[in-house]
Symmetry: D3
Subunit: 321 residues, 6 copies
């Protein structure tokens, strides 16, 4: 069995099939062509360079394709990088299904679907449940396949559903602890808040911002879908239920300068925003910790206001045996 990308040692030479996530034909400053690639399997993704390129190779490959590499793992500016010696398309018999090479949520899709399905039952407000059901049906496949972001937090296949469920589970704990909380609103908000990303982003492979993503943004894109759904379902757009749901989704970035057109003015909207941030931060910390030796600091993390983070060494979670 071929090893996973994460398992190769520095300076180790190997052959393997990988998914081509990005491929760019570039020139060195001196004018020679080379291939700058981002390759991945389900363990991680890595930059890869092929320096001497034939005319044929310049146009032979495209993002989304599975290819076969002969390469050496090296380190460039602190990060692992492949020096590619040979690259070719996969041949019959070799695994060539992109899905087998994508990082995925730590929970299986079937389980995600089951959990979502149960969560919807907990939305006891009829209006909100109908809207959620309508949009989950409309964007069913995308919801379970899209990442929650282009890079950083939950940037893996299924990341969107996984992130939404994490928030919903935190919300359940909050509802249990505090009186007078509207759980239905939190659960509906958890599912809908980032659903606009299925329009904002291009998909799970070679993820880019779409034109509507840049010009409108996922917050207003999902608001549009909620409005159209209500229209379709003959729900009164002026009802408080609709205003409260839309506000909760619109305000989930918490501040105007993070792109929400309104600040959270409803308690549950504020909680949704804070749980969203909490889950995203934990995910960002985990990704950075994975690449940081215990007892040392990471590089600066853009998604954490440029902080370095520390990976504790001796301070074990549990001292018991």
């Amino acid at each position: 069995m071929s090893k996973l990308l994460r398992e190769y040692q520095n300076d180790e030479q190997f052959e393997a099939n990988v998914l081509l996530k990005e491929i760019d034909v570039r020139r060195t400053q001196q004018g020679k062509h080379y291939l700058a690639m981002l390759v991945a399997d389900r363990s991680m993704e890595m930059r890869a360079m092929k320096w001497d390129v034939t005319e044929d190779e310049l146009e032979a490959f495209e993002a989304g394709q599975v290819v076969h590499l002969k390469a050496i793992r090296q380190t460039y500016q602190g990060n692992p990088q492949l020096r590619v010696l040979e690259i070719r398309a996969t041949t019959a018999g070799e695994s060539a299904d992109a899905k087998d090479f994508m990082q995925a949520a730590p929970v299986k899709r079937d389980d995600l679907e089951e959990e979502v399905s149960q969560l919807v039952f907990q939305i006891t407000n009829g209006t909100w449940q109908r809207i959620v059901r309508f949009l989950l049906k409309k964007y069913h496949d995308e919801f379970f396949v899209f990442p929650a972001a282009k890079t950083n937090h939950h940037a893996f296949t299924g990341g969107l559903a996984y992130h939404s469920l994490s928030i919903a589970h935190l919300a359940e704990a909050v509802v249990k602890q505090y009186d007078n909380l509207n759980g239905s609103l939190l659960y509906a908000g958890a599912i809908l808040h980032d659903l606009g990303k299925v329009i904002e982003l291009s998909g799970p492979v070679a993820t880019k911002y779409t034109i509507p993503g840049n010009l409108i943004g996922h917050i207003v894109l999902i608001d549009e879908q909620i409005v159209l759904a209500a229209h379709e379902l003959n729900i009164d757009l002026n009802s408080e239920d609709m205003l409260v749901l839309r506000h909760t989704v619109l305000a989930h970035h918490g501040q105007l300068d993070y792109g929400s057109p309104v600040q959270p003015m409803i308690k549950e909207a504020n909680i949704l925003h804070q749980l969203d941030e909490l889950d995203a931060n934990i995910q960002t910390f985990d990704q950075a910790l994975e690449q940081t030796t215990p007892g040392s600091f990471s590089s600066r993390q853009w998604a954490l206001n440029n902080r370095m983070i520390y990976h504790p060494q001796n301070s074990e979670p549990r001292s018991e045996d």
Copy 2:
């Protein structure tokens, strides 16, 4: 003929009918009731106080009503204020139509309607013209009656249409001066950009923010209407025309922290934002200048980042003749 509010001298006692824009029953710190009012006629609005109040008077009046006052004009903390000696409902024969007492746009409604009608013809892009026609029809009366703001710029009857047309006229000059400008987009944007205020605000008298106004805001409220209009008119919501129009309207506050969920990324969207600001600033300056003696400075203007403004004295616009 009764004089207008603007025409009374300090310490002058008079009787007149005025529109009650706000009325509040309050207590002095010592616990006595008094009436704190905002009254207006078509020349201006003014604070008014009635200190000794009978039980009957406490509940006799409400905002939006025309009343008859006996009062003295005084100055309190630099601003004119009425000390009300007597207040009663109007009697038969006295003018009691609120509309006669409201400040209004300097252009008559018929003329505003005519100008808007001609402007729509200049929107040569079919998609945008249909959307604009649809929404102008849906909110026809509100568009020509609502103010453009609760206070400050264009806070008078018809202010919304007047402000929108001012921007459109500036846009025509810009289109004439620069090549490659999409006039249709500017004109459609001029009409639609603040149309959400007919939902955000309660109306021309005793203007307040509505619940949807606070929870959703006029920017997303009009986006919702554009989306529904397109749906109704069978216009493809994913067409570039729709994305570009919505972006232009969504971005018109120019910056995220002023409430736009996206920054202007299209040239015409940026121009619309700048013309909106230009027209609003001119109106704010004009209102402050009216209350500032030539050769002196105004009080600090909240709507101009707390600047004082200066009313020049000798520097006449034109020295000729």
Copy 3:
């Protein structure tokens, strides 16, 4: 039985014993003395004014005392206020114990103590458990009696312990949901993070900032206590356990400009900060919601970046049954 302050109607006259939380002798602008007071019972606190004051009354009362009032409940600038007709010290037989008139955490002290005691067992890291035990012992009474803030969130007797436990309970839910979390650190941080407030604030009645509170602040004040405790317990101050614990406490305000000398660089420190904010926000929302009629907006809330908040009306938490 006397009614509670919260139960009186506007304009209702009554007699009752109340706790004097603040009392100030002031002069009106015209130079007459009056008493400006803040009074409370366990249902709420309220401003109270006595306008005609005898020489004797000027010096007869002090904050912290229980007094007997004859007063009328009125409204001043939107807030309830008492107009005091008579004030006297309590007489024998009247309840005069300040503790009976203070707002308190919704959980009884015994239960708080029991919960804290169980929480300490969950701190399986020996170093942290010893530090926590040492400081809980040193400040035992203060921890269960102090408020968590001078005003706003958890500003009631026992608020500090109640707030710390709320965070700990949220932390338990987070530990259950995510892998690789150091629960011990979260629980120790939950108990210690605000413990410096027992030095920063003067106590549960007539709470003020102390001189060390202003000059050093609760964050560094508790860091000092942690350092002294470690010294006393012969724990190595340079061990990673100590650095990690101190960092977690020092960073709990999340940002330098909120007074933390370091930003959270450890995952659990970041989570503690977010849970602290979540719990404080929920409490602030709840206090504001209590004073806001369903279907309307509150006044601007200083503790929520000056936002107004909305009290939903029809959107009930649960629609079933």
Copy 4:
């Protein structure tokens, strides 16, 4: 006829004369010399590199010179760049006049001069007209030749006069639309506001900031010239006319942190600031749009707060034929 720089295809090899705008002798990281150049003709400017350099070539050329190149057009990091194979001085008979290779305002200098001349007549305030005439005479050639900026908006020969006139034309439209505007002040401000750039910048070729440009800045540099002009012309420096004119020029950046020592407190000063920004933004958009394929987004634009901009594709300005 040689083609223009804009007209070469990627990978096309050609010979042409170009203007050397910048030339730097640098070393590769490995220590070999190369020439890093910025070359231009009147269609555009482009980076150019010569990798293998003889000793002679190291010192043979200087910025401002016209040279003959044999080169291949390539793309480096998304931008066009020339790989220079041969470079030599022009020989007799080849066009070697730098002026033939500079980008220029889209209006001919004669026309610019004519328009400025007519504009001055519209300044009916005698004081301002005399100051404007005096300074236009003093800096006549520079005004019509300098760019309006080192890079970005109007960074071409004649850009300063062109930008000033654009603002003046917009101002005429504004004066026509609004009552009570002091056109003289707007026109005088349009001509003078950026005139300090003829001292702040070094000239139309190889434009750099001068020492006075950096230490004093164009805003105060032109204020100095206005003061000296008034002194020369025996105009009372304390007259309101002078204060108003100087304020208008000093405030034209609109905000202290953009380098204006005062915020606009006069209506016309505020308008001048807004028209300045409008014209500069339009120019910046146009330059970015030229380099952006319809239907796609530009790179981030420093001069637009780091926004990407979008070049619409189908949304034509006019649909009629």
Copy 5:
């Protein structure tokens, strides 16, 4: 001998002559006239109110006049305030010279003049010395009489010269301590940096901002005078000496958003800015400390970013003897 204002006890009634610094006829909310005054002698200034006013008294007094009061010292909102029982003009034989009632620099004018005179000799750069002499001559009296600010730091007669000399003395210490410092530039900067305040402010009594003060500001006003002085003295305006001196003065607020059109780019300009801030801060602290009981905190100080300050109690400067 009459006591000084600072010496009266709370509730003490007295008669004294005082300087009327401001006088305003206002109305109470109920519409009655009263006089709101700011009075002073050389020990301090104090708010003063006269509540029952005759028609005659309304127009009898003006700012700048010395008047005779019968009054009671009271406390209003934490600050001392006079309740005026009687007010009349001074009669023959009573001291009526405003100068006798103004707070003044702690150094006598003759000594200030002598110190300035010696300082000028230390400006060994001929250009700068000539400019300084020229402007000190032009504004001689104002320099020694004006305050350095309208309120807050050095807001007393002679404050401008006193503040300038304090900076110069600090600069001498800095020059002694560090190598390679241009003392001439620091001393010239110390004298000139705030000299524009003699134009920006109206004078030592009833100090207000002038129109040029508001429209141009003291920084550019003194730059104008430096330019005109150089012109008069035939000094080359383009010489480095002139650029460096002007830069030093223009940059002395240290940051664009504090009103300097350029940031300090020259070492001595940066030092001047820091010494200016140091001296102003010390003065602001001293004024606040005077009104703060040892062992307690002041109210929030606007001029210190709204900080409270602490007046230490036991921590004496010197423990010896």
Copy 6:
């Protein structure tokens, strides 16, 4: 005698012993190993590259070691850089003591010690003197050897003591000039304020932030030491002397967002902050001026808010003789 690094010309080849401050094995983008070093002698430090590296050389050297180089001085991106031809360990007889190659404070250590010793006598407050003596004894060697920063101001051996003394000397001048200043507090603050850097930084060679440096920071690290010292010396931690001293040290960064947990609320704390900034700025200017040709501007200085600075040319400090 070998020349100093500062003395070599561009393109000059030489052999010399230098201190290896940093050494990194990196790969070129094409995958070849090279050595990226920072080398220094007592005149300056410089980047150095060795491109062709043998296997042996990859692991032969480490930071802190003195090595012998054969190298050519070149310029890379505007900065001097060495191209290393040969590198080897020093041999017997060659100077190999790192101390001989480190930049050092301009004052000899013996003199620094003597000055500090005298300064301590000027701390007449017994509490503060005892604390200072205790900590100077505990960290005696580090105080006189550590730099005051990793890079920028006073980043040389002995920089910490030198910087502390510079502040103390400025403080003496301030104490002499102003009344009522607590010199003891300023001198104690001068010595202690940055003493935490001996824990925050790793040492004088190859200076890095330590783990406590990153997680706690030098401000709280020294506060901890002050608290432990007081404990050891039986000084009452709640005495005003202790609060005032700790506040002064904690507040010395002047603002929360520069890492001080409290703003300066005591006059001397504010002065200490300003003198700290003054001394650091002068040092930063001096370092930048050294690398800037007279009559030109430096590159942007990160430590001065990204300002360029100007090195004046003709404006000599003294014109005499």
